[in-house]
Amino acid sequence: MSGAERIAAAFSGCKGRAALMPYMMGGFPDLETSLAIGNGYADGGADLLELGVPFSDPLADGPVIQSAGSAALASGATLDVVLSVALELSQRLPVVLMCYSNAILARGTERFVGEIASAGVSGLIVPDLPLEEAPATAESCAAAGIAFIGVAAPTSTDQRLAAIGEATQGFLYTVAVAGTTGERGEESNYSEVIARVRKHTSAQVALGFGISTPQQASAAADAGADGVIIGSRLVREASESSSPAEDCQLLVEQFAQALR
């Protein structure tokens, strides 16, 4: 089964409800704990897992994910460490890797894609690789059976949405608000964002950025999202809790409950 097929199976396994797609920072706070957190996500009811590769200068991330990345690097996280997490967790659920472009260039695109495929990764999101810069990476992914997942933003023009919506594999990562990752109090206009991208894609629409409470997750699902991505809220739990795996699992259970 290719990565795109495995992702599609995960969405169809949700039987009409929105998929729960929690994000975790690979190697944070350390390798062992991050494995436990990922298993907690799976036990708590995650349908797909988004796994971040720590980067020194993550332009799309707010303070919580930035500092988790810095802490992971300080504790010795490398791409190999993150891929060892992927290898184990991909036994349980589809893993989508979120990685900035310089880490891919550093490894060499072909080799990078080969290594993530060997680690069982199903899809790749590169937050700083817009459509124009993506062709080489997308081609390598296609050849290796990895879904190269496009990103749509609220600021994208219709013309860009059409091209991104056409090119994306697996699902369309839809950014709910202009900004960086991070918890937000308000529910932005999810229905409008989702309706707009739907016009331009036949892919599953997963909504992320700023969704930090079960109520917001439920609102995103009601607004028509096929998947709901929860990032900073969970990463904050992982950084603040004294028993991160258990507490993250509890939170994921609450999000899963909200989507039922």
Partner: protein
């Protein structure tokens, strides 16, 4: 200047490695600049401000005592004499006018040495724009007078506490602000770095340095210089000085980076000189200090303006194509040139161009006519230099 597109790539370098949220804003910016740079009214307004408000053209000064010390004729392009004390105002005024043209009334800027922050704050005061400047906490400490200046001009200075708390982190935080507030804000990037079209816009706005200097030296000497020498952090004063001379094959172009504590120490800001694999930082592919995993390394330089692990993509291409040469000068050497320039010429240079001056004074050459871009004045560096010199 009638191209329908600005350069997105310089050889393999450049590009637009940014979140999708910013892509439409980059397209809007490119269209706005393409129309503004051929709009007579816009150019007349920018020309008027550069002349009457900022003080262009800046003088080309025959530095006789530096010449005697070097054993060859040295001219200094006096960007230190322009309003706000550095070449950064050329770019800040142009981009602030462009923001007004785009209907964006909130300006974001980053700053290392503080010169670009002061220039942006100045342009914003003049044009009634809101101004937010991101600055690393370490730079706020070592460039205190410029922080006071920005605040007096009405700007909000935001301290950035991440990483080494210098220019790299300030740029990252400025870009994050722009991602969040892109609808009503324009990001005035201060150097010839960042995603396309920024490196081309900054070059277009800084090329007045070399355009003026080329005409001035032809008038004075009846010939072109043998060498044009400028310091390179991101590389805006250097690209500004070089551009007019790129077509003059006989003129050697030399960019001087920060060797910090020495290239071999690993503590420097000289990605073009040190070589190595190119990488992506702040939206473009260029020469970069990084580790094997692609994590960006911390730069080090005595001068905040050169304390940056990246470099402008056009410089990386000028290097690879053989048109320009990049070298590096250490912290200690820059301090020597700082004092020498003060004592021999009565000019206190910024620590950044002190690197370029040291190279011209102390590295043997067959050249008999050098043109150095004195990109800014050194008042901002006094406290730090005096402390380092133990006075």
């Amino acid at each position: 200047m009638s191209e329908t597109k600005l350069e997105h790539r310089f050889g393999p370098y450049g590009g637009q490695y940014v979140p999708e949220t910013l892509m439409p804003a980059l397209a809007e910016l490119e269209a706005a600049w393409l129309s503004a740079r051929v709009d007579d009214a816009f150019q007349a307004e920018l020309g008027r401000l550069l002349r009457d408000y900022a003080g262009r053209p800046t003088p080309l000064y025959l530095a006789e005592r530096l010449s005697a010390a070097a054993g060859r004729t040295i001219y200094l392009k006096r960007e230190d004499l322009i309003h706000t004390g550095a070449h950064k105002i050329n770019n800040a005024l142009g981009q602030a006018l462009l923001a007004v043209r785009m209907g964006k009334r909130r300006i974001i800027a980053e700053t290392g040495a503080g010169q670009h922050g002061v220039a942006s704050a100045t342009a914003c005061a003049l044009l009634e724009l809101e101004c937010v400047v991101y600055m690393g906490a370490e730079d706020i400490r070592r460039q205190a007078p410029n922080v006071q200046r920005m605040e007096l001009l009405g700007a909000t200075v935001v301290a950035v506490e991440a990483g080494a708390r210098t220019l790299k982190e300030a740029v990252s935080e400025a870009i994050r602000d722009w991602v969040t507030n892109v609808a009503d804000s324009h990001y005035i990037i201060g150097s010839a770095v960042g995603p396309a079209p920024y490196p081309a816009i900054v070059r277009d706005l800084q090329r007045c340095i070399g355009d003026e200097a080329r005409a001035q030296i032809l008038e004075r000497e009846g010939r072109l210089p043998q060498r044009v020498i400028a310091c390179v952090g991101g590389g805006s004063n250097a690209i500004g000085a070089f551009t007019a001379f790129v077509g003059d094959d006989e003129v050697e172009l030399i960019g001087v980076e920060a060797a910090g504590e020495g290239i071999e120490s690993g503590r420097h800001g000289a990605p073009l000189t040190a070589g190595g694999r190119p990488g992506v930082l702040h939206g473009s592919l260029s020469a970069l200090l990084q580790d094997d995993e692609g994590q960006i390394a911390e730069a080090h330089s005595i001068s905040a303006g050169l304390d940056y692990p990246g470099s402008g993509p056009e410089h990386a291409w000028l290097r690879d194509s053989g048109r320009a040469t990049y070298v590096a000068v250490t912290d200690d050497q820059a301090l020597v040139a700082f004092e020498q320039t003060a004592q021999l010429e009565g000019i206190i240079p910024a620590l950044e161009p002190a690197h370029a001056i040291h190279y011209a004074l102390h590295v043997p050459s067959d050249s008999d006519l050098d043109l150095i871009c004195l990109s800014g004045r050194g008042d901002k560096d006094l406290a730090e230099v005096l402390k380092l010199l133990g006075r």
